[in-house]
């Protein structure tokens, strides 16, 4: 896996999310473009590289959020663990995969944020309904964005998963 290409992808995803987020919102519901990048790497890269790469994307995201550092590192790592576990049972190019993985990934991120909100006693307009709507919005963008990224897979030089005992690339 080309780490530079993955870094550039993460950099672009975070930069676009920061810059254009208010304009992508629909009635206060926002998509998670960074999660799309996480899922793309997690579904294509070898297990070890995918887990570490997605954890680093989470750490990069934590640098620009207003919540505690480590929250998105944890959330995206959990998403990567989930997606990596499905590598052998999903079709990576299928639109249904591109729809379902962002949806469940977003729900997982939502669950982590919700637990964080409960612990820090935050309440308000961010109801579970809106967080669920955000998962649906992200899932709706999944087939388009993941479809485009899948066509650019060669740039990332993902290697097929190896059996246990081999070094990570």
């Amino acid at each position: 896996m080309r780490w530079l290409a993955c870094f550039i992808l993460a950099y672009l995803a975070i930069g676009i999310q920061i810059g254009a987020d208010p304009y992508f919102r629909f009635h206060g519901v926002m998509p998670d473009l960074i999660l799309i990048a996480v899922i793309f790497i997690a579904i294509n890269a070898r297990r070890d590289s995918a887990l570490l790469g997605c954890m680093l994307i989470g750490a990069m995201t934590d640098l620009v959020t207003g919540v505690s550092f480590g929250l998105y590192t944890l959330a995206y790592s959990l998403v990567a663990m989930f997606v990596v576990s499905t590598q052998d049972i999903v079709y990576r190019e299928h639109p249904l995969t591109h729809l379902s993985l962002p949806f469940f990934g977003s729900l997982l991120v939502t669950a982590v944020l919700f637990v964080y909100g409960l612990i820090h006693r935050e309440s308000g307009a961010q109801t579970l309904t809106m967080l669920f709507a955000s998962a649906v919005y992200t899932a709706a963008l999944g087939p388009v964005l993941l479809g485009i990224l899948q066509r650019m897979k060669r740039i990332f030089a993902f290697q097929p998963s190896r059996r246990r005992g081999r070094d990570m690339d």
Binding site: Y11, L12, I14, G15, I16, Q17, I18, G19, A20, D21, P22, Y23, F24, R25, G28, D32, I34, D48, L51, L52, M55, G58, A59, T61, D62, L63, V64, T65, G66, V67, S68, F69, G70, L71, Y72, T73, L74, S77, L113, Y116, G117, I119, H120, E122, S123, G124, A125, Q126, M130, L131, R164, G165, R166, D167, M168
Partner: protein
């Protein structure tokens, strides 16, 4: 074996991130963030400008003022007269009280800073590119004479503004509206409701949830202003606008208590630049004298 070692390392990193997320307060990790925050500026700023020009027109636009032209001109004339009169009174007050030095034209005490973007996630906060001194943490941030937030963190990589609409932000204020003063001018009439607590609710909305419903329905109407009345903010910013009342309704969990939705005058998340109130009267005078010397 290498796979087993990686699992251990990954597990430890995951544990560290969980501890950092749930146990360590953000103020201990903010210095690290301020170092790297501005690195996304080369992408986020052009993206923001492009998105504003391409998609901004699809955003909710403010409702046009449907009043006759002559009514609007008449109200403008009354407001100009009121401002002229108040400016004179302010000058007289300044001569008496040193604490009031920063009242009036607040722009002289502010520095305009462009906005790089928003914080990803569910927070209402703005990212400012550039290098800042950590001494500006807590400084007020304004936009067009309205208070919009405070600097939450600042460093050599950038700064973060926590908006008044962010979850967990609490301010005190007053409700009021402009009425004719009976002498051809207008005045700001505050309601009799005491000590409303304005809480940020996220998504560009603030809520007031500590007022009884009958009292609220009688005294507060959609369109009324909410102004700052909070000793945690500088004197110069008291009575600055926080937003306008959008709706008055009953709370879902307490039907006899009102839930008043308040919105800022602009969508704060789409602002292209803001003003940080970081100057003292001495620095403003120093700036003026430098300008005067340069013009001679």
């Amino acid at each position: 074996m290498p796979s087993l070692r990686f699992n251990h390392v990954f597990g430890v990193l995951l544990l560290i991130s969980a501890v950092s997320a749930f146990l360590i307060p953000p103020r201990f990790t903010n210095p690290l963030r301020t170092l790297a925050q501005g690195m996304f500026s080369p992408i986020s700023r052009p993206t923001r400008i492009l998105a504003a020009s391409a998609l901004g027109k699809f955003q909710e636009q403010p409702e046009p003022d449907g009043r006759p032209d002559m009514d609007i001109r008449s109200e403008n004339d009354k407001l100009r007269s009121a401002v002229a009169s108040l400016t004179r009174e302010l000058d007289q007050l300044r001569a008496v009280h040193a604490d009031y030095e920063r009242l009036g034209d607040i722009a002289a005490y502010c520095t305009r800073v462009s906005v790089m973007g928003v914080s990803p996630g569910k927070r209402d906060s703005l990212s400012l590119p550039g290098s800042f001194s950590s001494s500006i943490i807590g400084f007020p941030v304004l936009y067009e004479q309205s208070v919009i937030g405070k600097i939450e963190r600042a460093g050599i990589g950038g700064a973060q503004v926590r908006l008044i609409t962010d979850l967990g932000v609490v301010n005190r204020g007053r409700f009021g509206r402009f009425v004719d003063n009976g002498m051809g001018g207008v005045m700001f009439l505050a309601t009799e409701i005491t000590d409303p607590i304005i809480e940020g609710a996220g998504n560009g909305v603030m809520l007031v949830r500590n007022i009884g419903l009958p009292e609220a329905e009688a005294a507060i109407h959609p369109g009324d202003w909410v102004v700052l009345d909070d000793s945690d903010w500088p004197t110069a910013l008291q009575n600055r606008r926080l937003g306008s009342v959008r709706a008055v309704r009953a709370r879902s969990d307490a039907p006899l208590v009102a839930e008043i939705a308040v919105e800022p005058s602009h969508n704060l998340l789409t602002l292209q630049d803001v003003m940080v109130m970081n100057k003292t009267p001495a620095r403003v005078e120093e700036g003026r004298s430098i300008k005067d010397k340069g013009s001679r």
